[in-house]
């Protein structure tokens, strides 16, 4: 009968253990946070941390099933018990808190604005009445919609597309994670990051189904434990350093689940 009750609470730790696999929703096309490499293997910052979760919960980092989610379906996957945790670059917002339970954060995001050298945007105010290019489902989209509804947004699904669009002159600037825009500007002469930080206090955190306190607590404890070994820093080194370099490590990583 204990078996029965275990599987009754879907997504409970007992049930996950019984299943022998934890299901974690990640992105498959947001390099370098969650993507699939040329061999079809999930990679990225979120994925790296997710693997460690599996190892610590089930004893083996291969005991994770990555469910590839789309920005618009992240919550639905959780609500319908199709995944246990979402770790798809999920920005914590008030609205989302009403739908899911966020664990402690493992990453901070700051936004940045990149624009052509010829017509640089140096403050967010400058964008009013102009077109900002953003990627759907990112912090930037939420931030602009909430705080600057008067800025027209040109929204694309893919990172590649926002950069293409800026190159083609379809908008005046890209608003995106600052790591992303700075790294890109480095490789693309003719573009400058006029606003290197914006917004600031947004965090990225794992999310579980509303009410799944058991799993939520486990994640928070796990993040605290990982903090002791500076694991998130390690994740940065392994997955982000190549692209963003060392400079951003501290402004990005949250260790132990706690903002300094």
């Amino acid at each position: 009968s204990s078996k029965e009750s275990a599987s009754e609470v879907k997504g409970s730790i007992a049930e996950i253990k019984e299943r022998g696999k934890i299901r974690i929703g990640v992105f498959s096309d947001k390099n370098p946070f969650g993507y699939v490499d040329e061999n079809g293997v999930n990679q990225g910052f979120d994925v790296y941390i997710a693997r460690r979760f599996a190892k610590d919960l089930l004893g083996d980092e291969s005991k994770v099933e990555f469910v590839l989610v789309d920005a618009a379906s992240r919550v639905a996957f959780l609500e319908s018990n199709k995944v246990d945790i979402i770790m798809a670059n999920f920005t914590v917002t008030e609205e989302r808190k009403q739908k899911v339970d966020f664990a402690n954060p493992y990453m901070k995001v700051s936004l940045g604005i990149v624009s052509p050298e010829s017509a640089p945007i140096t403050s967010i105010e400058q964008l009013k009445g102009k077109k900002a290019i953003v990627a759907k489902g990112t912090t930037a989209e939420t931030f602009l919609t909430e705080n600057y509804p008067e800025i027209e947004q040109l929204k694309f699904e893919q990172y590649t597309e926002i950069f293409e669009a800026l190159k083609d002159g379809r908008g005046d600037a890209i608003v995106n994670d600052n790591t992303e825009v700075i790294a890109w500007a480095k490789q693309n002469p003719g573009f400058v990051v006029g606003v290197p930080t914006l917004g600031g206090q947004d965090t990225i955190a794992p999310a579980v189904k509303k009410g799944n306190k058991e799993l939520l607590d486990w994640i928070n404890n796990e993040l605290a434990a990982l903090g002791k070994e500076n694991f998130i820093h390690k994740a940065y080194d392994e997955t982000l350093a190549d692209i963003y370099g060392e400079d951003f490590k501290e402004s990005l990583v949250i260790e132990g689940g706690k903002l300094e």
Binding site: Y35, D70, S73, Q158
Partner: protein
């Protein structure tokens, strides 16, 4: 420095993955087309009933799929219905179910149109040699209707193949999504990847759909000739 775009296709398992994505696309499309067609034939036969009620119900069923976007159906079925019924279905299964129901609706309409376009005297001469109701459909009406509905059916089939790209929303990775994964993965080393990958996917779709329209034209000519 920057590798040439086309090499992206050959890197790692990329090519294999694209084909796997294509297989998923093709599998969902073809299973749904086949089951949907069979159900559609049954539906089409029922639809020719003289009862106003039956006709209205069939009509509403069709309009439900005409008006409500397939994406919404996928969402409702995958996240709503399976949860409500507490059953565990994979995204692919749900896709097949939704596409089958859609296919059956549209096919039913096509079959109804084809059956109703058959001359009335075909029914009578079938009756005159003593065929039963089922015999009439089995030997006379359906074989002839199948010929008439072919263009519409192929049109539907290619539309279904092309619409499979929506299934990514419920976690099924179709060929376009695989393409986007590859593009995104290589976006720093190979910024031109998108052109080659999309170009390749474009060709893949053509390779699947074109034979369908070719076959239909062939059959049409053969049957009408």
């Amino acid at each position: 420095m920057q590798s040439s775009g086309i090499s992206v296709l050959l890197k790692g398992k990329n090519l294999q993955r694209l084909f796997e994505g294509l297989m998923i696309t093709a599998r969902i499309a073809f299973i749904s087309i086949i089951i949907g067609s069979l159900l559609g034939i049954v539906l089409g036969v029922i639809w020719t009933s003289k009862s106003k009620w039956i006709r209205s119900i069939c009509r509403i069923y069709l309009e439900l799929f005409r008006i409500i976007p397939i994406l919404v159906w996928l969402f409702i079925m995958y996240f709503g219905v399976t949860t409500a019924l507490n059953i565990d279905l994979s995204g692919e299964t749900v896709s097949v179910i939704v596409f089958t129901l859609w296919g059956a609706a549209e096919m039913g309409d096509i079959v109804r149109g084809a059956l109703e376009s058959l001359p009335k005297h075909q029914i009578e001469s079938g009756k005159a040699i003593g065929l039963s109701f089922w015999g009439l459909y089995r030997y006379i009406l359906i074989p002839q209707a199948v010929r008439r509905m072919l263009p519409g059916a192929i049109n539907l089939a290619t539309r279904m193949v092309k619409t499979t790209s929506l299934v990514v929303l419920i976690g099924v990775i179709d060929v376009i999504k695989v393409g986007q994964q590859i593009i995104e993965y290589s976006r720093i080393e190979v910024p031109t990847a998108s052109f080659w990958v999309y170009g390749f996917v474009f060709i893949l779709y053509f390779v699947i759909c074109y034979p369908l329209s070719k076959i239909s034209r062939k059959l049409e000519n053969k049957w009408n000739g």
